[in-house]
Subunit: 252 residues, 2 copies
């Protein structure tokens, strides 16, 4: 497989954009931690950690991408896949660490009380680990049937997870102050809307045809995962920070 110069540049610039968004959101949140009250500080620090872990993985992905698709003879030539694999493992390792932490920061900012938080995480975290573990074998295969089978298996814990989160976020809404209700409603929509991008991006390469079966599927999948990562980690982390700040101000 190969990538045209334009497609290479698009993916390359998106990876660099992801690094910039994730790295500097992480630093921004660390530097801003004292803007929130003590009881919300852990939620903000965990958000910063999620973004930092992801920034690390995007540095790896960026370098790996340069090695896998080295430049051709001229600036306009296509980039041919080299003898170095483009390793999707980085993403799955990243998700394996960041998805549980994202669940943790969400539950932390709701301030549901110790027992209720624990019970909730006890459902959510194993489901998320299962979702990612089942998705990986499907991601690295080039065949359609196993990709669909593993994808479907992975979707079972995914739907369970979304269901539990949605219900719990909705239930917790009653106990949240008026000023943050709107933001928490947005978080709820963001979770379903953004997390839903991942399984769709996963499917792009098997939609087939000249476009999706070739470079188009690869480019769209990378774009989907990268933009979803920026929004589900950096933008989401900033929203968590906002909720924490407003709640800190109100409880002052």
């Amino acid at each position: 497989p190969s990538l045209s110069a334009g497609n290479f540049a698009t993916v390359y610039n998106l990876f660099s954009l992801a690094i910039a968004c994730l790295l500097f959101t992480s630093l921004y949140l660390v530097v801003s931690q004292r803007q929130v009250a003590k009881q919300y500080r852990n939620a903000v620090i965990v958000s910063a950690t999620v973004c930092a872990i992801a920034a690390y993985h995007y540095f790896r992905i960026f370098n790996n991408f340069e090695d896998s698709y080295p430049p051709g003879q001229t600036i306009d030539s296509a980039h041919q896949l080299s003898n170095i694999e483009f390793n999707e493992g980085y993403r799955y390792v990243d998700w394996f660490l960041t998805v549980p932490l994202l669940l943790l920061e969400t539950v932390a900012v709701l301030a549901l009380g110790r027992a209720a938080s624990k019970k909730l995480l006890f459902k959510l975290i194993p489901a998320s680990a299962l979702m990612i573990a089942l998705g990986y074998p499907g991601e690295i295969t080039n065949e359609v049937v196993p990709r669909l089978v593993w994808g479907t298996l992975s979707t079972i814990p995914f739907l369970y997870l979304l269901y539990v989160l949605f219900v719990e976020l909705s239930k917790s809404l009653e106990r949240q102050p008026e000023e943050v209700k709107h933001t928490i409603k947005m978080l709820r929509i963001a979770l379903v809307g953004l997390w839903g991008v991942y399984p769709i991006a996963y499917l792009f390469p098997i939609l087939g045809g000249d476009f999706f079966g070739g470079e188009g599927g690869f480019v769209l999948k990378q774009a989907g995962y990268s933009i979803a990562d920026i929004l589900a980690k950096a933008a989401y982390g900033l929203a968590i920070y906002k909720v924490a700040r407003v709640k800190s101000r109100l409880e002052d």
Copy 2:
């Protein structure tokens, strides 16, 4: 295309100057955040973030420049463009992130009140995103007509943005303490004067002739963008910090 040894060194040193100014302004502002009152701290942290994002991009630009224009046979030889493109995408990704944040820090330091700030940013941020998105296709083409067309389209949101900012900065002047009026007037001039450098630098390569059509256009464009970035981000961030400090002292 190629660059003479002298032109290469000029651009190279300018990129390093930009890294130094942006990186250390960022660190200075982070380290100084506790010098300003709580309500202005976010403006200072956002200024630091803008400079950090830009420093990251100048590191990338610097390395990319070295790869695109490798040294010739001898110290005095021209640097020939290699098979690696000099990627102007970095600048546009940078602006896409930093211009909205510069608008945010400007509005934050004025302390206009929550509703008014939100309304203002709701006009400014989409206009800035549109300006940058429309400029990019023109930047990466080598042809004169599309460069002019995209540049003109990008100028429409640019003028709107400057107009709104200028009017709002002027309006807010009445409510600002005497001690910072002068600095805010300077910010107002800086915005128009510095941001106006970008569309001019954009035009250099198409002025044509032996000078602008060749290396001169490239060198002047890079110099224009880099110097404007240093002033519009680092010097501007320091001015914001100064306003925040004076206001903090007065409100103490």
